[in-house]
């Protein structure tokens, strides 16, 4: 059975995951280990008048109680946002200070104020409760719109009126003019709900300072351990980069929330140095709700103009993005360059203008969450299209078709140059698989059972790979976004792939090994994928933005090219043949058209014995490569959702969900389908169930699964998933990426289906039963009045 590109190879890593044998950060236990417990603010906004640690310090087993003044006194730097976004007037963003332990002011409920290090988790918690903090409570604001209003409490002195930046993209005057001259204008207010990321494994850190070696080791739940090391050393001055090893072992889901460097990792490293003990912290679930960076939270008003032939002539967008109490690592990029650059959707629109105001509120920081900006763009664009179709009296699918981009490359008015795609092919496939044409009969049949049936369509596009380093650098990124790899061929012919990508559920240990099988015909079992350890892998930018295939694997391919070239040189020398005649297949190295053959292992051994190498060749067979993409990649697709709503209770049942995606080349279809299934589950979660809710005092009401609704198996349908492939011209394998598509494409499909079912377009996410029922009631009252 083939284990190469396109094969459904079972996931190597699942044996340890399914048998409970994974090795996660919390599984790490060191000699003399202590535990950290954080004292967190119960208030959304308050000044710290005093902190009395004496009672906590007196508790048996407590090694130390530390506050923010000690932290900053030791020179530990503030947490920063790594992407500089300027306002449209050219002024830099107004970033407030974020100390890992608050010094004078707390800005959200959950903000860390002090830490206790003790010999057991229970003693640490008990001591944390004994720390007495005297607060002067200030008024607070959680709503992004209200945050900008006059008279609202100022959250950071650096950000007057709580405004972080007022940014724009595209041509405002031309867009306004186009809309003014339009035959029809669709206007909407669209809210993208705030969600909690909820990886199954909560965040965790185990920090160890070795005083005799003057060296730090940090095990942590990271999607990008090298970036963590860079930031911890260069910006937070916790430890010098060459004396800090960061290991992200098995990580149980990230979804963006584990990209960032949080206060807890910083404090554990610092506290390990202070106490000379290994320090462990593992978040409990309520801490995760309070402190893991939330996602989305946009308020948008938009206008879309159409000419008399239903062609879109202009799209004007005004968004307020809630970044929470502090600017997290990529928080500025998510609602700007990852969002507004996708406002052209799959459509040929000459004029697009997006304005984004990012604001502080007294809430958990907001940053990238699966899709990161692109779900917000897709939801807006696709809700607009379906709403416009209703107003124009045309089929929503036909309105989309009339505006599809059909020629590539295509330069949009908002930076992106789409390189490939066939949007009609995706739509054709989805319409066929969903029997779109037969929907009205199904609607009638459902009505006879008292159910309201609706169908919703969504055509998403995303920019992935993230991204050409020079491009993101010109847009304000503080880092380059290439990837690196090293391919080590051992003397016996087995292969180790060292990658800067990080697998936290994606199955890299399987898919990356498939590249070796495809190239050399070696069994996947002869390949080991090494990742997640800064001492083993030289450098890497990590995994997010659906980049590990398009960027991470491209680096591996570049290294493989070098390995193959050297192996061929050695074989040609040994076989006394021309280098150009050497082929490597099925684990053999042959001279084409002859019976001259060497085993792969013989060539590898030859490289290491170095008894008979070509003149001047260095021994060994190990090559590294860096790959910097030339462009973003553009996965796209068409999703069609069909729902039945129970008008008596407002309950939505998804009765059919069809996804037709274009991910470019697919390495392992089984894993890709799994990614789509999981992505849709998260998208359906956002559309129907999930929302982080604060009360008027800034308390998070959804602090446990008693109130935060995660999608369960019985909330979700069986999906119909297929692919229409156009190969990505931008990277050697032709990969576009698949990790986020499901979460990007599904929310608008679900909401468009429900609004179609109930005949009321005024519906926000999550479309909970109570909200849907109220929308039905509103429609019925309106109809009764007419």
């Amino acid at each position: 059975m083939s284990e190469g590109i396109g094969a459904r190879v079972l996931r190597k890593e699942d044996k340890r995951f399914i048998t409970g044998d994974g090795k996660y950060t919390d599984d790490v236990t060191n000699h003399g280990q202590c535990y950290a417990a954080f004292v967190r603010s119960p208030h959304a906004h308050a000044n710290i008048k005093s902190i009395d640690k004496s009672a906590a310090e007196a508790i048996v087993g407590v090694e130390g109680v530390f506050d923010g003044h000690q932290l900053t006194g030791d020179g530990i730097g503030n947490i920063i946002c790594g992407w500089a976004v300027n306002s449209k007037d050219g002024s830099p963003m107004n970033m407030g200070a974020w100390s890992a332990l608050a010094t004078n002011t707390v800005r959200y409920a959950g903000d860390a104020v002090a830490v206790v290090i003790a010999d057991s988790p229970a003693n640490a918690k008990t001591a944390a409760e004994a720390v007495v903090v005297d607060y002067e409570v200030l008024s607070s604001v959680t709503d992004a719109g209200k945050s900008l209003e006059a008279g609202v409490e100022q959250i950071h002195p650096e950000a007057p009126n709580n405004l972080i930046f007022d940014w724009e993209i595209g041509e405002q005057a031309a867009t306004e003019e186009a809309i003014a001259g339009a035959a029809h204008v669709t206007e909407m207010k669209v809210i993208n709900n705030r969600v909690s990321p909820n990886p199954m494994e909560p965040r965790s850190a185990v920090a160890t300072f070795d005083a005799s070696e003057d060296h730090y080791t940090l095990y942590t739940t990271s999607q990008n351990p090298h970036v963590a090391r860079l930031v911890l050393s260069a910006f937070y001055q916790v430890a010098p980069e060459h004396k800090l090893r960061v290991i992200a072992p098995d990580v149980g889901g990230g979804f963006g929330a584990k990209i960032y460097i949080y206060p807890e990792e910083i404090v554990c490293l610092w506290a390990s140095m202070k106490t000379k003990r290994s320090v462990k912290w593992t978040s409990d679930r309520t801490e995760a709700f309070l402190t893991d960076a939330h996602g989305r939270d946009h308020i948008t008003t938009a206008k879309m103009g159409f000419d008399k032939n239903n062609k879109i002539v202009g799209f004007q967008v005004d968004t307020i993005a809630n970044l929470g109490a502090y600017m997290s690592l990529f928080s500025s990029a998510t609602p700007t360059y990852l969002y507004a650059t996708l406002l052209s959707g799959q459509y040929n629109i000459a004029n697009v203008h997006g304005n984004v105001r990012a604001v502080y509120t007294n809430t958990t920081p907001v940053d990238a969450y699966r899709g990161a900006g692109r779900p917000e763009a897709a939801f807006l664009v696709e809700r607009m299209l379906t709403t416009a179709a209703g107003e124009l009296g045309v089929d929503p699918a036909e309105l989309r078709r009339a505006n599809f981009i059909t020629e590539f490359p295509h330069q949009t008015p908002v930076i992106m140059a789409y390189d490939s795609g066939d949007f009609n092919a995706n739509m054709d496939a989805a319409m066929k698989a969903s029997d779109y044409a037969g929907f009205e009969a199904r609607r009638s049949e459902a009505a006879s059972r008292g159910k309201m049936r609706g169908i919703g369509i969504s055509c998403y596009i995303e920019a992935c790979g993230i991204a050409p380093s020079a491009a993101v650098g010109s847009l304000g990124a503080g880092v380059g976004l290439w990837e690196s790899a090293e391919v080590r061929v051992n003397p016996v012919g087995t292969v180790e792939i060292l990658t800067g990508s990080h697998s936290h559920g994606q199955g890299h240990e399987t898919t990356f090994a498939q590249l070796i099988n495809d190239r050399f015909g070696l069994p996947a079992d002869n390949v080991q994928v090494v990742h997640g350890d800064t001492d083993k892998v030289q450098f890497g930018m990590g995994t997010y933005g659906s980049r590990s295939g398009a960027v991470g694997m491209s680096a591996i391919v570049k290294a493989l090219d070098k390995v193959e070239a050297k192996a061929k040189k050695i074989a040609a020398h040994l076989l006394e043949a021309d280098e150009g005649d050497i082929v490597i297949e099925n684990g053999e190295v042959k001279v084409a058209g002859t019976d001259k053959t060497l085993g792969w292992h013989e060539v590898c051994l030859g490289a290491y014995t170095a008894h008979n190498l070509p003149e001047g060749m260095e021994p060994g067979l190990k090559e590294g490569a860096f790959y910097d993409p030339a462009n973003f990649t553009f996965p796209a697709g068409c999703y069609i959702c069909e729902v039945e709503v129970d008008p008596e209770t407002g309950t939505t049942d998804i009765v059919q969900f069809v996804a037709s995606d274009d991910f470019g080349t697919i390495i392992n279809p089984m894993i890709v389908e799994g990614q789509v299934h999981g992505g849709i589950a998260q998208g359906v979660g956002q559309a129907l169930l999930e929302q982080a809710v604060y009360d008027d005092n800034g308390q998070l009401l959804t602090g446990s699964y008693m109130d935060y609704t995660m999608p369960r198996a019985d909330d979700l349908p069986s999906y119909t998933v297929s692919h229409e492939t156009t190969v990505c011209p931008g990277n050697p394998l032709g990969i576009k990426g698949c990790g986020e598509a499901g979460a990007i494409g599904s929310p608008p499909a679900v909401i468009n289906a429900i609004t179609d079912a109930i005949g009321n377009n005024d519906l926000s996410m999550p479309a909970t039963p109570s909200k849907v029922w109220a929308a039905i009631q509103a429609t019925q009252s309106k109809q009764a009045a007419e």
């Binding site: 229970a122 918690k125 008990t126 409760e129 309520t286 008596e648 209770t649 407002g650 169930l689 809710v693 009401l701 959804t702 699964y705 008693m706 109130d707 935060y708 609704t709 995660m710 909970t768 039963p769 109570s770 029922w773 109220a774």
Partner: protein, 265 residues
Amino acid sequence: MYNTNYHRASSVEDAVSKMGSSDDAKFVSGGQTLIPTMKQRLAAPSDLIDLRHVDSMKGITVDGNQITIGAGVTHAEVHSSKELGAACPSIAALAGHIGDPHVRNMGTIGGSIANNDPAADYPAAMIALNATIITNKREIAADGFFTGMFETALGEDEIITAVSFITPVKAAYSKFPNPASRYAMAGVFVAQTGEGVRVGVTGAGADGVHRHTEMEAALTANWTPEAIANCNVDANELLSDLHGDNNYRANLVKVMAKRAVEMAG
């Protein structure tokens, strides 16, 4: 969790005696509410007195039309009991929709009733079935037992040992689960008992479980789902929270009542 002292009671008398000699003890049975609350440090009893090994609190008895369920019987046992399935399938079905299999295999009917969570299922069944709550001290009619949210008529050292009721002529429970917790947002138990029609409502009331006398009258006159249609459910007496306001809950109470009558046949 804070430190606590664990005691295994061998009998009801032993449990009461252990309670008397403890500082701030709590009885624990399945622990499906108390233990998570302790883990979150929201409850800190000095002592836990475990009732799960008290034999006299176990077992289900169907004696003619008299049904008795020991307080220590788990939800899974109620759900899977053949005797109950034949004599009172409505309560067996109710138990099968409490929590998840883990909860059903640990949680007990006595624990659920004693806790009187305003969104728990059993209290609605108890008042609709006109059940008697039997304690180590007395017998209490369900109507007088549930006195408010998380409040009951139980005294400090009083232990529910069993519940008993007469087999209803017809009965059914319909529940609309909270999307997150899957507790009842509105659960309605309807029953035709020897002493008339009774309707128990859980999950929705601002003061916890309660009877709906207007529906009882309507169903007494006309035992059909349609009879519910003209009943008034006063939203002012119902809960509002982030999952739904009181108007939505008022609607749910009517819809669940209607569906319960349909199920009861």
